[in-house]
Amino acid sequence: MRTRLSDDELAVRDAFQSFFQNECSPAVVRAAAEDTGFDPHLWEALAAMGAPGMALAESVGGAEATLSDLAVVAEVAGAHLAPVPLIEHAVAARAIHRAGGHDDLVGELAAGTKLATLALRPPIDQTARLVPAGAVADVVVVPTVDGLMVSEGTPSKLRIPNTADLPLADRDVSNAAPLSGGTTNREQALDEWRALTAVAYVGLARQAIEIGVNYAKERTQFDVLIGTFQALQHGYADAATQVEGGRLLAYRAVWALETGQPDGSRLAGMALLFAAQAARFATDRSLQYHGGYGFSEEYDIQLFHRHATAWTLQLGEPALEYARLADAEFGARTVSADQGGAA
């Protein structure tokens, strides 16, 4: 049992912490938002750090880092709202690699010279709707009823306007080819996305609290620092408690998936729902305690607020995620169709 980062994980954390501090300021995030929502220069720099392939096998050019190591990077990337689809790319590349038979492609993905993403919902009429990084990805891994498929194509570089200026786009996946591994591979990919996104949410939420706490130590009203107000202190204390609880759950989910624990999928689903909610609460408190400035475009907290809202919705309705977990927990509902909507 070690509920804190190991020395190796701390080394990864420190390296990427300084990387993102140098390369991914709020100005970078804002510039990406004006464009596609993706920063190709940041992606190249990340590729030079070996991040895109870090959790892939050495045989395909990866670094064979653990999923936990990848989570450490996801947390730091989340804290900086990095405008790169690191999680989607890594999860998609791992799924293609698990399926086997695409070593050349996986090699390009490990090097980061091609960009992959994971569509989080099955396509309808050959179109995957609102694909994360769909505006910029060369390769889209698509979930279907039977498992996963992979589609290569030229991205439009046009994002659909959205809450957090994410590079969302619809993708025509009519050329998609099936990946082997069936539903097991699909569920592993989606669960890795859930767990890693939960960790990214923790990074986002911690940063949002830190921004707000720093502001509270500078801002004076009624002749005192607003940080001395108990209403504000207790709001941040509740937020921090949820976020730290979410952090332990998210990393436990990552560990459980990595080590093949029977509750890995359950924990991954739980972690995403909880961490997303904690991040929404934390960004709500932080924005609120900024007063009017929090609402202005100039202050960064609004970026965190919008990203907190957006990330998890890419997967679909949270209610359906609760329903999915409930089916696994309690068995499927046994209500006839005409009572299906009774709630």
Binding site: Q233, A240, A343
Partner: protein
């Protein structure tokens, strides 16, 4: 990170489960409805196995079980609804004594606390000082080799069955409040002590205790004269570390799932097939996993010899506040039938949800209120200005 349990702890978990299956029964749980959350037979059986001394560090003379094994014991006992209040308090008192008491007390009292023949209770809170515990006004005045104690304590829960109270007193009213405190271990059969019941809104009973010219020899002093705050810190450390409280919700959720599966609504459906009910149940189960993460985290820190403070505050804050929410949610779920108490013959599962609903508010109060814990998180974890 690595969330696996060492094999010893897993083996111990199986032992605890087997032990509870053998020694804990519904009658024992029902017996706590008289207000006293204690099961003497279970306590004795635990003592036989040496489990009472388990959480106490070996270098202090305890059983020296790892913090992970202690959390396993706590977890399994709470999942099984074992009445652990008197036991947990007694173990904390023993741990405080081993750290701060003189040899006589360590050799005569502590063995009795850990072999199950004597019980201890806390005497910190007073009618005029709750969260501001260092403002205790109960006076101890030196008289030769003796001390004379006068005052009153509130929430001395278990005092009516306990043998000793660990008492926070004021020995110097002239210095800042934290610097004039001294602890005593007071045998509850000492002349001048009166114990009056304090009924509560739940099934449990607490006590007010009154001290009228209670005379004690100096050998019952715990720690230095005016050094009581150091003892108080130890007390809080153990209370957060040993006393448990991270897993109050699972039995309530179990009851809610059982209700949702078996109850038939007027339209002929079961609540378990209602998406809104399923979401509420899932949210509660997620909260339990968060509590589990916190519990394991505190155990991991303790195992490393780190003194956890703010992590304990977060754990208690989250566990108690979410427990209250679960009780309210599932009381609501049951509608009118939720109102039935354990005394009603057809109360669902002996009125378990109703009983927990009424018990739950105190968990966000005792051992440090949610507000005090939020203050600590704000000050220690976030570095916001101290405002008290």
């Amino acid at each position: 990170m690595d969330f696996s349990f060492p094999p010893q702890a897993e083996t111990f978990r199986s032992e605890v489960q087997a032990f509870l299956a053998e020694h804990l029964n519904e009658d024992m749980i029902r017996a706590t409805h008289d207000g006293t959350i204690h099961a003497p037979a279970l306590h004795a059986a635990m003592a036989d196995r040496g489990w009472l001394s388990g959480p106490v560090p070996a270098e202090l003379g305890g059983g020296g079980r790892s913090a992970l094994e202690s959390v396993v014991l706590n977890e399994e006992m709470q999942l099984a609804r074992a009445p652990i209040d008197a036991m947990a308090v007694t173990i904390v008192v023993a741990a405080i004594l081993l750290e701060h008491a003189n040899d006589t007390v360590k050799e005569t009292v502590v063995p009795r606390l850990l072999d199950g023949t004597a019980l201890g209770c806390f005497g910190y809170t007073e009618p005029e000082s709750g969260s501001d515990v260092a403002a205790a006004a109960t006076k101890a005045v030196r008289d030769g080799d003796e001390w004379v104690i006068n005052g009153a304590k509130m929430w001395t829960t278990m005092a009516h069955i306990a043998d000793y109270v660990i008492l926070l007193t004021r020995t110097d009213p002239e210095v800042p409040k934290h610097k004039g405190l001294t602890f005593f271990l007071v045998p509850l059969d000492t002349p001048g002590i009166e114990i009056r019941p304090v009924p509560t809104m739940a099934t449990e009973r607490s006590n007010a205790t009154f001290y009228d010219d209670v005379r004690l020899s100096d050998q019952w002093r715990i720690g230095e004269v005016n050094g009581g705050w150091a003892v108080m810190k130890t007390a809080l450390k153990y209370e957060r570390g040993i006393a448990g409280g991270q897993f109050p919700s699972p039995p309530v959720i179990d009851a809610a799932v059982d209700w949702a599966r078996t109850h038939v609504r007027p339209d002929g459906t079961h609540p378990i097939d209602d998406p809104a009910v399923r979401e509420r149940l899932m949210r509660a189960l997620i909260d339990v996993e968060v509590c589990r993460g916190f519990a394991y985290h505190c155990a991991d820190l303790a195992n490393e010899g780190a003194m956890f403070g703010v992590e304990g505050s977060m754990t208690k804050l989250f566990a108690s506040e979410s427990y209250k929410r679960h009780c309210r949610d599932f009381h609501d779920l049951m509608g009118a039938e939720g109102l039935l108490t354990h005394e009603a013959v057809d109360a669902h599962l002996g009125g378990r949800i109703e009983e927990n609903l009424r018990h739950s508010p105190v968990t966000a109060i005792y051992g440090g209120t949610s507000e005090i814990n939020r203050n600590l998180v704000a000050e220690v974890h976030l570095g916001l200005p101290r405002i008290r």
